[in-house]
């Protein structure tokens, strides 16, 4: 066996990474196609508030991250629909707002330390057995929802109004999609880190789009890129002692640049 898999923590990290790559790329496809890429970045910062609360108050940071991310996702959707605010402005407000709240909570609680650093940039050392189980259970639920409603999400991304006139419950499904995205992001911050998870959601899809294929193929290419970049990023992280989130994002960036150049017309 490869040296990298001789360590239990690496096995856990790899498993968690594969689950996250799958979830992030599939949900990311729908998010990108809806022109809603910034939601992932924003929710990642909201999840950080959950982590901060968890670290300071002694709750499980992962669970708190899931809860706070879902709540902000709902609040963002509610604001978008009810006050017809510009989507990107709402996202910008939430992004910096949550980061400010997270920093203040952590400062007041005196938890500014390495543990917070690992939540910002991801750490393969950090994935515990309990984390892996949480990621696995939530992951199965999220993946099922994504696959069950894939056709509806795709239709809504293509044309929201036509989907609505076809009897598809656009608003309900939009809430469902952001809820799933919130959960996936919160789960991912252990491995990829909250400052970098947005990239794992968005870049595999944007890279796959360069190949100009139909829906199913684009989804598979994006999935392949995500899994490949997580695997290579983690290997790099292991051998070079770098934060895993950064190496994963760099791997996917390389794939993006290659895809862009190879498909240049």
């Amino acid at each position: 066996m490869l040296e990298i898999f001789e360590y239990e923590f690496m096995q856990r990290a790899f498993l968690a990474g594969m689950i996250i790559a799958t979830l992030a790329s599939i949900s990311g496809t729908f998010v990108v196609l809806r022109r809603y890429s910034m939601i992932s970045e924003t929710l990642a910062h909201s999840a950080l508030v959950g982590v901060a609360v968890g670290l300071v108050a002694g709750f499980n940071p992962l669970w708190m991250a899931v809860i706070i991310a879902i709540l902000s996702a709902w609040l963002i959707e509610y604001l978008r629909y009810s006050f017809s605010l510009y989507s990107d402005a709402v996202l910008a407000i939430f992004l910096s707002g949550s980061l400010a709240i997270a920093v203040i909570i952590v400062s007041l609680g005196g938890a500014f330390n390495n543990s917070l650093f690992s939540y910002l940039f991801g750490s393969i050392l950090a994935v515990s057995d309990a984390d892996l189980i949480t990621i696995f259970i939530f992951g199965i639920v999220c993946l099922s929802v994504l696959l069950i409603f894939a056709k509806e999400f795709y239709f809504i991304a293509y044309d929201e109004e036509v989907a609505k006139t076809s009897g598809i419950r656009v608003r309900l499904l939009s809430f469902l999609l952001v809820t799933i995205v919130a959960i996936i992001i919160a789960l991912s911050i252990r491995v990829v880190g909250s400052l970098l998870i947005g990239a794992l959601m968005v870049i595999p899809t944007v890279s796959a789009l360069q190949y100009r294929q139909g829906f199913a193929k684009t989804l598979f290419i994006s999935l392949f890129f995500a899994i490949f970049s997580v695997a290579s990023g983690m290997t790099l992280s292991f051998y070079m002692s770098l934060p895993s989130g950064a190496t994963i994002v760099l791997s996917i960036l390389v794939i993006f640049i290659i895809s862009l150049v190879a498909n240049k017309r």
């Binding site: 196609l33 069950i148 056709k151 509806e152 795709y154 239709f155 293509y158 044309d159 109004e161 036509v162 989907a163 609505k164 006139t165 076809s166 009897g167 598809i168 796959a208 789009l209 100009r212 294929q213 139909g214 829906f215 199913a216 193929k217 684009t218």
Partner: protein, 254 residues
């Protein structure tokens, strides 16, 4: 004229935004197998009207019934096919083949957890053939011409086997020969497939001989059940002077 239940029954419809009347006291019925063109000046309320019919906007006053039901109680949206105005300018990088797009038309009919059925496949293929886009089924939607895309959007709407097709300026950005062909296809759907057709248009010249009824919308609505006598329709020239004139001229050329 006809005794069956109208598909749309609109009574005393008002649509008011910021004290401005977009639609004022509009009443009409649309029956099965009608072939209706809606004309009117820009900003006259044509698009608003069909958005209300489709449940995308809510009327301020008045009543709209679809197949006898109030819009909020209406559930069988697959009976209504909608082709929006911007249909011909799709985002070029959207990952969809012609087939992917037409398949979306089956989404509203499917049951949760169900896979694509044999019927879905047949309907999708049938819709593509009817709109003459079957040979483009594996082409990316972004690479098609405006006219081809328009037909793909129609095929998507047809895939749910609608009883009525509503089109908002289907030929914006489409060249003239494709336009004519498109209207021929619409007319065929109307005659052979018995599908009711309602469309907003500016190019009256192309269709003037063919339409069965003409709605002129400029806040108020004037319904002409025989467009060949469009000019004798009361208030027609008040509502839409120039284009009424156009129709008139067009008639004399033939």
């Amino acid at each position: 004229m006809k005794f069956s239940l109208p598909i749309f029954d609109v009574k005393n419809l008002y649509f008011i935004v910021d004290d401005q009347e977009i639609l004022r006291n509009v009443s009409f019925e649309i029956f099965a197998q009608d072939y209706i063109a809606i004309i009117g000046p820009n900003g006259g309320g044509k698009t608003t009207l069909i958005r209300i019919l489709l449940g995308l906007e809510k009327e301020t006053k008045g009543e709209v019934r679809i197949f006898g039901k109030k819009i909020k109680d209406f559930k069988e949206w697959h009976k209504i096919g909608y082709v929006p105005q911007r249909a011909s300018h799709v985002d070029a990088s959207f990952p969809a083949t012609t087939q992917d797009v037409v398949k979306m038309g089956r989404t509203s009919k499917r049951k949760l957890f169900s896979k694509e059925s044999q019927e879905d496949k047949l309907r999708v293929e049938d819709a593509m053939r009817k709109m003459d886009v079957y040979h483009l089924k594996d082409k990316m939607i972004g690479t098609l011409s405006g006219g081809q895309r328009q037909r793909v959007m129609c095929a998507r709407a047809l895939a749910s086997r609608p009883e009525i097709l509503i089109l908002d300026e289907p030929n914006t950005g489409v060249d003239v020969s494709s336009q004519q062909r498109f209207y021929e296809l619409l007319r065929e759907l109307n005659k052979k497939e018995k599908i009711t057709i309602v469309f907003i248009t500016h190019d009256i010249g192309v269709i003037a001989d063919d339409i069965a009824r003409l709605f002129t919308i400029n806040q108020k609505a004037v319904i002409c059940n025989n467009p060949k006598e469009a000019l004798s329709c009361e208030d027609m020239s008040d509502l839409y002077g120039i284009d009424a004139h156009l129709i008139h001229n067009h008639k004399h050329e033939h």
